[in-house]
């Protein structure tokens, strides 16, 4: 009873307050508490399935081990950037304003076409070119024939060549040999060939 009275003491101290209705003056939208109930139940269901799996959000391997280092690297980089803005290189005053103009003027010089006089008529140029090609072709052909001939000759055995020369040589051949043989070649002949063979040879050939 005493406790109850002490709780109501204030009524005597505030007559103005007592006169004012205790009825709730605040309103809510129509059907608010019904929809609130549904919303809260839905939220609770959502919460109950959320983060069921602890590893729902995976992380790369060693993420936290490397994270400190990456943060420190980033801080260092930004510190350097703050201390040294730019690369320190400078250009002369108004350099870039004149640069475009200077580049364009140099391009214009290079593009100016050279005026040439035609010294030779068209047909003479073409025929000169054709002649050159012809001469080169002949040269190549001859050389290639000799080359091919020499290649073929090198494949023939030495004894066959000797036999051929023996049976088909003439006075002119001997004369040619005498005029063109070298001392070294002569030495070889004189050491490898016997006197008997030499006499036979001389007797068999017609002077």
């Amino acid at each position: 009873m005493k406790k109850e009275n002490s709780d109501k003491d204030w009524l005597n101290e505030a007559p103005m307050l007592v006169k004012i209705s205790k009825e709730n003056p605040f309103a809510v939208p129509y059907d608010y508490f019904e929809s609130l109930n549904k919303n809260l139940n839905s939220l609770a269901k959502l919460e109950s399935v959320r983060f069921e799996n602890e590893d729902e959000f995976g992380l790369p391997e060693n993420y936290f081990n490397q994270l400190t280092e990456r943060i420190e690297d980033r801080i260092s980089k930004e510190t350097i950037q703050n201390l040294a803005k730019g690369d320190g290189l400078i250009v002369p005053d108004a350099y870039f304003t004149n640069l475009t103009e200077r580049i364009n003027s140099r391009i214009d010089e290079k593009l100016e076409p050279a005026k040439l006089k035609k010294m030779y008529p068209h047909w003479l140029r073409y025929s000169a070119a054709a002649s050159v090609v012809f001469v080169i072709g002949i040269f190549l052909y001859l050389n290639s024939s000799n080359y091919v001939f020499n290649q073929q000759l090198s494949k023939v055995p030495d004894q066959d060549i000797i036999n051929y020369l023996q049976f088909h040589s003439t006075v002119n051949d001997n004369q040619y040999i005498i005029e063109n043989v070298t001392e070294d070649g002569l030495q070889q002949v004189s050491t490898d060939v016997s006197e008997e063979d030499l006499e036979k040879y001389i007797n068999s050939t017609t002077l």
Partner: protein, 183 residues
Amino acid sequence: MQVEDSEILEKFSKESTRHEAFNLLLNKYQQKIYWHIRRLVIDHDDTDDLVQDVFIKVWKNLVNFRSDSQLFTWIYRIATNESITFLNRKKLRNSVSIDDANGLDLAETLADTPYFDGDKAQMKLQKAILTLPEKQRLVFNMKYFDELKYEEISEILGTSVGALKASFHIAVKKIEQILLNSD
């Protein structure tokens, strides 16, 4: 007939009946908590957000609730803390002093809200309540409108019964003075 807290807690402890328990809890407490928050923050939309935050916290933490306090005082405490945090954040956002005893910011909200059906006298009363410091306003609302016992308020706010009585009496005197001066 309202369900007992013990039944709610028992059903909540089993996974198969957890949602049923939560629904029972909502039916029992959602309006009380709503009005408790609404009288503090005034605006309906802000209240709606806070009510949802509060009951999601209840859902997450009810499984760990120890019966050393009553269920409704535990929920009230969550609601009170959420509301105070919200008001402090709002003051910072609006660059209003946290010690704003005049509650000018909330008075503006009260004047602008479309969800006020009271008469002139009730408007004066609400404006007068907004002039009180935050904790005094809490005590006044819980004692005057919610008609909670000092012991229950003490459990919610963690303040002694004696301090609460003193706080309430001072609040009543201030409001009375404002109502007298406003005439």
